[in-house]
Amino acid sequence: MTEEQTNPTPAPKRGVRTSTQIIIWVILMVLLVLVGLGLKKAQNPIIRVGSEVPDFELIMFDGYSYQSASKINISDLRGKVVVINFWASWCKPCEQEAAELEEAWRFYEGSDDVVFLGIAWTDTPNNAKEYLNRFDITYPNGPDLGSRISSIFNRNLGVPETYFIDRNGVLQYVKIGPFTSIGEIQASVDPLIAGTITAEE
C-alpha cells in the first residue's frame, strides 16, 4: 500500500491566472499613482511663504496699464516689491480696505520700488469695472482669467487676500482679510523695501 493511495493528491483549484493577477495589480497601482498625482496637483496652496512665486501674466482691464503695457508678467517685476491684492466687487470687506490700498499705492507710486497689482477674483467684468471706478482705484488691475493666478496662491482663496513679494520674487507675507489702515500696509511693505526679510503668514 503506497502513501499515494492512502493520501490522494487533491485536484488543483482553478484560480485567476498569475498573468491576470499581475495585470490587475499593475492597473491598480497605475490608478493609485494617477490619483496621487491628482491630489498633489490639488494641494493647497501651491506656494508657501518663503518660496519663489512662479511666473504668471495679468491682462489688465481696459483703461489700466503698467509702464504703458496692458499686460504684465510677474517675472518682469524682479527688483521691486510686489503687493498682490485679490478682491471682488461683491465682497464687503474688500470695500473696507479699497481706499487704504489706493492711498498706499499713491504713497509708493513715485518711488518705483513698489508695484501694486489688483486681481478681481470670480467677478463679472462690468461689476469689477464699476467697483474700480467707485473707489477711484488707479493701480494696475485685471481679472483672474481662468482662475489661473489664484490657483497659484490659494486654490481655496477668499477675498480679500493680499500677498507681499520681495525684490527676489519670494513670497514673504500673506494678509488674510482687510487692512484697517494705511499704516498696516506700510508696516508690511517697508521692511521688504529695506530688504529686511520677515517671512511670516
Binding site: K13, G38, S150
Partner: protein
C-alpha cells in the same frame, strides 16, 4: 386700388414681424431660462452649490451675467464657454474630457464592473456545497470525493482484516 391694398397689407405684416423680432431680442430672459444654464455651473466661492440655487452675492452676479448674455442672443454653449474662459474649467458641473479629468469618467465604470465580477464569483462560491469551490471546479471536487471514499473503503477493509487476524 386692389394692388395698393395688397402692398399696404404686406408692409403692415413686415412691420409687425420686425417689431416682434426687436421685442423678442430685447425681452428679459426669465429665471427659468437663466437657471437652465446656471444649474450646470458652480462658482469657486461656493464649490458644492450649483449656481442656480446658490444664495451668495457672487452667484447672483453670475446669474445676472447669464441673463445679460441671453438677452444679447448668446447661446448656452457660448455662455458656458465664456465662463470657462473667464473663470476656468472648474466652474463646469461636468469636467471637460481632458488630461486627469478622464479619470472621473473611466475609473468609476471600471470599479463597478470589477466589483460586479468579484461579487458574482463570491456568490457563486458561496452557493456551492462545502468541499467544492465553484461549479467550474465541480469535476475536480467530485474526483476528490471519490478518492476520499475509496481511501475510506481501503481503511475499513484493512481494519476488518486486522480484526479477523486477532480473532
Amino acid at each position: 386700388m386692389r394692388r395698393l391694398f395688397w402692398i399696404t397689407t404686406l408692409l403692415f405684416v413686415l412691420a409687425g414681424l420686425t417689431t416682434a423680432t426687436v421685442i423678442a431680442q430685447g425681452s428679459t430672459p426669465t429665471d427659468d431660462e437663466v437657471n437652465a444654464i446656471a444649474k450646470d455651473l458652480f462658482c469657486p466661492v461656493c464649490e458644492n452649490t450649483p449656481l442656480d440655487v446658490c444664495p451668495t452675492d457672487a452667484c447672483k452676479e453670475w446669474r445676472e451675467e447669464i441673463r445679460t448674455m441671453l438677452a444679447d442672443g448668446k447661446t448656452e454653449v457660448e455662455i458656458k464657454q465664456h465662463f470657462v474662459d473667464y473663470y476656468g474649467a472648474r466652474v463646469l458641473a461636468e469636467p471637460p474630457r481632458t488630461g486627469f479629468n478622464w479619470l472621473a469618467y473611466v475609473v468609476p465604470p471600471i470599479v463597478i464592473v470589477a466589483g460586479i465580477f468579484v461579487l458574482f464569483r463570491a456568490f457563486r462560491a458561496w452557493s456551492q456545497p462545502s468541499g467544492t469551490d465553484t461549479a467550474s471546479e465541480g469535476e475536480a471536487g467530485m474526483d476528490e470525493e471519490d478518492a476520499l471514499s475509496s481511501s475510506d473503503d481501503e481503511y475499513i477493509a484493512r481494519m476488518e482484516e486486522e480484526l479477523k487476524k486477532r480473532n
